[in-house]
């Protein structure tokens, strides 16, 4: 085998410390056919020198002794390709960063360089020519969850002409914020802020690129980056999404009342309902569990009331399974609130005027159960409201993290109550107060300046006690009187995100939030390639952050998968020798990219080369020695070690 070594002087960077003559003498001619030095291999001159050399010498393998492969491996691989040589038949020996720059004695440095080069020479003999592969991929994207994060992602992607399937569990889109009246930090009207975006999604220029599936859930996902297939369960809406004009005539005639979950059960809705005023899409849905027809009745009142005539209300509508193919998936299913009932002394569920922050949002909302009038359950105007921060947050017995947003919305509540009821007292009971960022402190300042507001710190939620006094008044900690108590519970993963996580094959962190590939470098990538995570399903966050993350996921999906482009597959991957695999399953445990699948029938593992990043973890872990890592084979690694050691022994 003809192996040539090119020694780059790197100006004086390398040659100033490593004596190429000494290196040449240390390499035996049995191993190396020729040894040449060159001034600056990465310069244009250097690259054309290398190209001409390869053409003239026709080596089987080459070693380039120069800088770190992180710097120029790709550069030289391109030169090899250009010269018609397989780029994987080259090995770099890093004699700059690892030798010249860190060794002062010339003799020592030269010896070290010779050892590294000898290792590279021994190793490169085992290199095999490898080829890039490519497969087709779908440019479409599925977004799960139509809150701020999901909507931003969907709209951004649709604007580039790409198709998006937007899967929303509820009957309406907009996520949590469409249920708020105002949003922090500037107390903008939430529906007014979101409405233009929702309209854009439903009726705008790019609406044709977005398929909205409401009342829908992803029940299965298979395939991999570039080629996912999702099975989506669509529950029936019982109303024609395309023809209904949303006039609401059908609703008034419905004889059935049920608790309205959009108002946290604080009021009732009909069995056919529009969720809340202004809900989008503006098409009612029938809650079949409540409808008389489900209980054997033959009620047709809503159908008869429809001014468009028959065929708009669809009693025969049925559950449907639809399948969609996509290249990437964006998960944006939001979060929910910690069950404050787990801290019984706070009285949630026991005392009628103790509310969660969500419930309080609805009481403040003009589309809420009281039309925005702040009233206690018994209909009184509250003279005093206690807002308890950090309920279950910052607490080793509950959730040890700071939920980040609660202080902000508590200040928001302070100001909103101040506008509505200028004489009402507001007591903030908090463990900590946080207001990082360029706008947040000003909101705190305004809340603090409210002459009716009192801020009191508490140490431990278990020391708080809310008791009922007469006339519906409550006493907080035996001194504060309150007509209403608002709890700000920790933000926690939404109820079924665990199930979704299993369906998608992603991972969740110790708290149950969807887990990112890297907290700082790749905070919106899941560990499964091609699945991205945005918004409060990843961590508690504000609308602003959710929007930013939605945008970030769109960026990944758009740059990673481009219509018409094929997915290039790096050849440095692992592969399982099925003959040797015993099916122990150890490999799948260590793969950080979830690239290893298990064939239940043959009881053997296999590596998906699209997902494999060639990290080698499974190769090291497979106790049966059944996994081979391309380009990093045991033979090559051992030869390299032996090469290095043999040289050092001589020295």
């Amino acid at each position: 085998m003809k192996i040539g070594v090119y020694f780059c002087n790197c100006g004086s960077n390398i040659s100033g410390k490593v004596d190429s003559e000494q290196v040449r003498q240390a390499l035996s001619l049995n191993d190396v056919e020729y040894f040449k030095t060159c001034e600056l291999m990465c310069s244009d001159d250097g690259k054309s020198y290398l190209r001409d050399e390869i053409a003239a010498e026709k080596p089987d393998r080459i070693v380039i002794a120069a800088c770190s492969p992180r710097e120029h491996e790709k550069t030289f691989m391109r030169v090899l390709s250009g010269a018609g040589m397989n780029p994987y038949l080259m090995q770099m020996a890093n004699i700059r960063e690892q030798v010249a720059w860190v060794t002062s004695d010339v003799r020592q440095a030269s010896l070290k360089a010779a050892a590294l080069i000898k290792g590279a020479v021994k190793r490169v003999a085992f290199h095999k020519p490898l080829e890039m592969k490519s497969i087709e991929m779908s440019p479409d994207v599925m977004v799960i969850g139509a809150g701020p994060a999901g909507l931003k992602a969907a709209l951004t992607i649709a604007q580039t002409g790409r198709k998006v399937t937007l899967v929303e569990k509820r009957a309406v889109i907009g996520g949590q914020p469409v249920l708020y009246e105002d949003v922090f930090p500037n107390l903008e009207c939430a529906p007014c802020m979101l409405e233009p975006m929702l309209d854009e999604i439903l009726h705008g220029e790019y609406a044709k690129n977005i398929e909205i599936l409401t009342l829908s859930e992803v029940v299965e996902l298979y395939g991999f980056y570039g080629n996912f297939i999702a099975k989506i369960k669509k529950s029936p809406r019982y109303a024609d999404m395309n023809q209904c004009i949303g006039c609401g005539e059908c609703i008034g005639v419905c004889p059935v009342d049920v608790k309205n979950e959009f108002n946290n059960g604080l009021d009732n809705r009909k069995a056919i309902s529009l969720s809340f005023a202004g809900a989008l899409p503006n098409v009612p849905f029938i809650d079949m569990a409540a409808c008389l027809r489900a209980r054997g009745g033959d009620c047709r009142l809503c159908d008869e009331a429809c001014p468009l005539g028959e065929g708009i209300i669809l009693y025969d509508d049925a559950e449907e399974m639809v399948e969609r193919r996509m290249g990437a998936v964006i998960v944006a299913v939001g979060a929910s609130l910690y069950d404050a009932g787990l801290i019984p002394k706070l009285g949630l569920g026991r005392l009628p005027d103790v509310y969660t922050s969500f419930e309080f949002e609805r009481l403040l909302s003009s589309t809420g159960p009281t039309g925005g009038q702040l009233l206690t359950r018994s209909g009184r105007t509250p003279g005093s409201i206690a807002i308890i921060h950090c309920v279950g947050s910052l607490d080793a017995n509950h959730k040890e993290y700071c939920s980040g947003i609660c202080c902000q919305y508590a200040f928001k509540f302070n100001l909103m109550v101040g506008h509505k009821l200028p004489d009402t007292q507001i007591h903030h009971l908090h463990k900590e107060l946080v207001y990082p960022g360029k706008e947040e402190y000003f909101l705190y300042k305004r809340a603090k300046e409210n002459p009716n507001a009192v801020f009191t710190a508490y140490k431990d939620i278990d020391t708080l006690r809310i008791t009922a006094a007469e006339d519906g008044i409550m006493i907080v900690n035996s001194s504060i009187k309150a007509d209403m108590v608002v709890l700000c519970p920790a933000v926690v993963p939404s109820k079924d995100s665990g199930k979704l996580n299993e369906t998608l094959g992603t991972t969740v962190d110790m708290f149950g939030f969807f887990e990112e590939l890297h907290g700082r470098l790749d905070p919106v990538m899941a560990k499964v390639r091609g699945i991205y995570i945005a918004g409060a399903c990843q961590s508690p966050m504000s609308i602003q952050q959710a929007m930013t993350q939605g945008m970030a996921t769109a960026g990944y999906a758009l740059s990673g998968i481009v219509g018409g482009k094929r997915l290039e597959i790096e050849p440095i991957t692992a592969s399982v020798d099925a003959d040797r695999c015993s099916g122990c399953g150890v490999c799948a445990l260590v793969c950080p990219y979830k690239a290893i699948g298990f064939d239940e029938q043959n009881r053997k593992s296999s590596v998906n080369e699209v997902l494999c990043e060639g990290c080698g973890s499974c190769v090291a872990a497979c106790p049966a020695g059944a996994i081979n890592g391309n380009h990093f084979t045991n033979d090559a690694i051992l030869a390299e070690i032996e090469g290095v050691l043999s040289c050092l022994n001589q020295g």
């Binding site: 099916g583 399953g585 106790p623 020695g625």
Partner: protein, 329 residues
């Protein structure tokens, strides 16, 4: 009769289980006798070393050499039998990879002699006499075969054609090999393994394998394991994942974890290191994010410290042949 090829079996530093295993091929021993001239086997036959020396080089068709190389005599016989045999087979774990005798490589020869001949509670050795290679007595000089500092495998002292793993090799596998030779089947390339599969024991083990996340390790006396589920999944260190198949998963079948006697699977060159690497993937110390370094170390230590004897667990059979070779206490 004289035209039958000669078969021999030698017993170096080992327990004798390998001979039992050969005899355990039961009535097939008659086929062996019909096809071979069973020429030399100090444990079963009367032929002597001189009889072997008298043969032409290569005069023995096959030698099953069991036992590790502990003494000068072991080594001398290894060289002699190498010279006289066409095929020299390292038979069983001791010859192949050192096995139990090689665990003694963790200590010096002097330390062994001290605990065996001097400190041993059942020995009264007031003069502190230990075996010596040469002893001068009034009648002259007496010699004993030298006791080496370290135990070596057969292939570490001479050229070996094949190795057969197992402590001892399973009779069925022994017969497979003999039969292959009788039928003139092509054997694998020289230096290869006979009588084992190319995967791991788990392949032959019918237990149900679930996700391996072990939060606590048990020693065998601490639990009565479920008989259907993978033992490793239950927290017993079953070496099956890192052990060549071929035994038929005998130990897991009777609810005992595999201790690794079939050596590393093909493609693995250090069984103990492989097992440790795999355990690194399997041992579950719980959520790592947001946990202090001290706490992580504490959790890792707790799991690792529950393994009673690292070398006896991971290198029970393979210490002499391993990359480590066995350190010195």
């Amino acid at each position: 009769m004289a035209s039958k090829p000669k078969l021999s079996m030698y017993w170096a530093s080992s327990c004798g289980g390998c001979e039992v295993s050969l005899v355990n091929i039961n009535e097939k021993i008659l086929d062996v006798a019909a096809n071979f001239d069973f020429y030399f086997c100090p444990c079963l036959l009367d032929t002597k070393k001189e009889d072997v020396e008298a043969l032409d080089d290569g005069g023995i068709a096959i030698t099953f050499f069991n036992g590790a190389i502990r003494t000068e005599e072991n080594e001398e016989m290894a060289h002699l039998l190498r010279k006289k045999s066409k095929l020299l087979i390292a038979f069983g774990s001791c010859a192949y990879e050192g096995c139990i005798p090689a665990l003694s490589n963790l200590h010096t020869k002097a330390a062994h002699f001290k605990s065996i001949y001097i400190d041993n509670p059942t020995v009264d050795n007031l003069l502190g006499i230990v075996p010596k290679h040469e002893t001068q007595v009034p009648e002259g000089k007496l010699t004993l075969p030298a006791f080496y500092e370290r135990v070596r495998t057969l292939s570490q002292v001479t050229d070996v054609d094949y190795s057969m793993p197992g402590c001892p090799p399973e009779p069925a596998r022994v017969w497979n090999v003999i039969e292959a030779v009788i039928q003139g089947k092509t054997l694998p390339p020289k230096g290869g393994i006979l009588g084992a599969g190319n995967s791991s024991v788990c392949r032959e083990c019918g237990r149900k394998k679930e996700d391996k996340h072990i939060t606590r390790l048990y020693r065998t006396y601490e639990i009565i394991p479920d008989t259907e589920a993978c033992l490793l999944d239950q927290g017993l260190i079953c070496m099956g994942i890192a052990t060549a198949d071929g035994c038929g998963a005998l130990c897991p079948k009777v609810n005992m974890p595999c201790s690794g006697c079939y050596g590393p699977p093909a493609g693995v060159f250090d069984q103990g290191a492989k097992m440790v690497a795999a355990l690194g993937a399997i041992l579950d110390i719980g959520e790592k994010k947001g946990i202090s370094e001290d706490e992580l170390i504490r959790r890792i230590d707790m799991l690792v410290d529950s393994i009673p004897d690292y070398s006896g667990t991971f290198y029970k059979y393979s210490l002499a042949g391993s990359i480590l070779g066995g350190g010195r206490a």
